[in-house]
Amino acid sequence: MDFLSNLISGLSLGSIYALIALGYTMVYGIAKMLNFAHGDIIMVGAFAVIVCINTCGLPVWLAAVVSILCCIVLGVLIERIAYKPLRRSAPLTVLITAIGVSYLLQSVAQLVFGSEMHSFPKVISMPTIQIGELTIKGNALVTLVVSAVIMVVLTLFIGKTRMGKAMRAVSEDKDAAELMGINVNKTISVTFAIGSALAAVAGIFYGSTYGFIGPYTGSMPGIKAFVAAVFGGIGSIPGAMLGGLALGIIENLSKAYISTELSDAIVFGVLIIVLLFKPTGLLGKKIKEKV
């Protein structure tokens, strides 16, 4: 039973990674860039909740909405101002810009909120559930369920809707998509908006899970989610979900049964091993083209 509860909290942590990894993978798929500022959006989302609840006294749901909207606006602005002018530049230029944006967000947060950790308000009031010997934390359960719903909705959106299909078309071939009448710039903005909204949700769950937020809080889950995206196959949406969940489970089980100190090393070790045998990640595919 102990194992099962560890597995469930691993899944819950993993679904946070998955939400962030989705943003990485969608942006990579469509803009062919690694948005290393993505992790810091989580931190901005979490701080937005802190300000909304502690300073403005807003109810939890409204704080969540405001936080999501802030992150959407921020994500779209970052793309427009920092990345769009570099769309035809070398990948390294874009990568360095993304790292710069990441530091910028961290520094601005430090300027505004100071470098100390802030306690995150209690936004999830679900009690711990006890079924026989199985203990499930309310927080973990809510995280898991909400993330699952988001992932199902996102999968349907990408697979079935007009905009979702346009996103796939743009990620495959921008010029061809443009020739179909698809507004490529708008589609890229929508992708950044969705990724940032998911990061905001992840930020709220991350804050509720760990209880504290600081200006650098976004970088570690950001990097792990990036690892999850690569692990699952960067560019692949089911890959990001699978990679995120796998990472959360590996991390939590290593913490529980091997060593808390070594858990991160184990997580990254697994990534290295997977990439040795499957360089495109678990679900990453090389499409074979018939001529």
């Binding site: 007009r162 299909k165 346009a166 796939r168 078309a169 495959e172 071939d173 010029d175 061809a176 998509a177 443009e178 020739l179 179909m180 009448g181 698809i182 507004n183 490529v184 499409i287 074979k288 083209e289 018939k290 001529v291």
Partner: protein, 234 residues
């Protein structure tokens, strides 16, 4: 009536001057061909017309409207469709999804037009749920043309539709072009296969290193000695 008028365009790739003072026109109901060897600038001309590239000078007008500054995606609903070189279908999307993308701006008409395309190309219907990347070269070309037809274009621009296809498929593609033309679509065709292209062309332009070297009716050009030597193998 003049449908497309291109006047004095100059297109650069960085320092490279790829298209030099090119002017030509396409009248409603015509099949016009741009022929020329590899690297002559044919594809660049088409990309500039469809808005993927910009000319530094001159003017492009389509149906009487200046489109030289219009974004590419807006031209589709204006009636301009461009089947790019190398087909460029979406390899990871199904045949049907590819066709749906062709109807991105066509709204409610899309489903009916997809049915029309299936009627014209029954092979695509058989493979409607297959991923684009699994189609053969000829099927991909049919999909690329079918996809462009979903927007019900007034002017269809085809860039090397015969490239990489077996001779029997090349004739099939040219038959399809003739049928589309007979059904009322104006066609601007870029081809390296000058022999086939000149046979169906009302008029043709010959591009040589970025400039228009010759122009005339398809039949006249097919008889011209210079053309025979350079493009028709004797």
């Amino acid at each position: 009536m003049q449908m497309l008028n291109v006047e004095n365009i100059n297109v650069y790739y960085g320092q490279i001057h790829a298209v030099k003072d090119v002017s030509f026109e396409v009248n409603e109901g015509e099949i016009v061909c741009l022929i020329g060897s590899n690297g002559a600038g044919k594809s660049t001309v088409l990309k500039t017309v469809s808005g993927l590239l910009r000319s530094r000078t001159g003017c492009i007008s389509f149906m009487g409207r200046d489109i030289s500054k219009t974004e590419a995606f807006r031209l589709v609903s204006a009636g301009l469709a461009h089947v790019p070189e190398g087909r460029r279908i979406f390899l990871q999307m199904t045949v049907e999804e590819n066709l749906q993308m062709g109807g991105y701006t066509a709204g409610k008409e899309t489903d009916a037009r997809i049915r029309d395309v299936y009627e014209r190309f029954p092979r695509l219907k058989e493979r409607r749920n297959q991923i684009g990347g699994t189609l053969s070269g000829g099927e991909q070309q049919m999909l690329a043309i079918g996809r462009a037809l979903i927007s019900a274009p007034k002017l269809l621009m085809l860039d090397e539709p015969s490239m990489g296809l077996a001779p029997i498929l090349v004739s099939q593609i040219f038959e399809i072009i003739k049928e589309l033309h007979a059904a009322g679509t104006t066609i601007l065709l870029v081809e390296q296969n000058a022999e086939m292209a000149l046979k169906i062309a009302d008029r043709a332009y010959v591009l040589e290193s970025g400039r228009i070297a010759l122009s005339g009716s398809g039949a006249d050009l097919a008889r011209s000695d210079a053309i025979k030597k350079a493009y028709l193998g004797g």
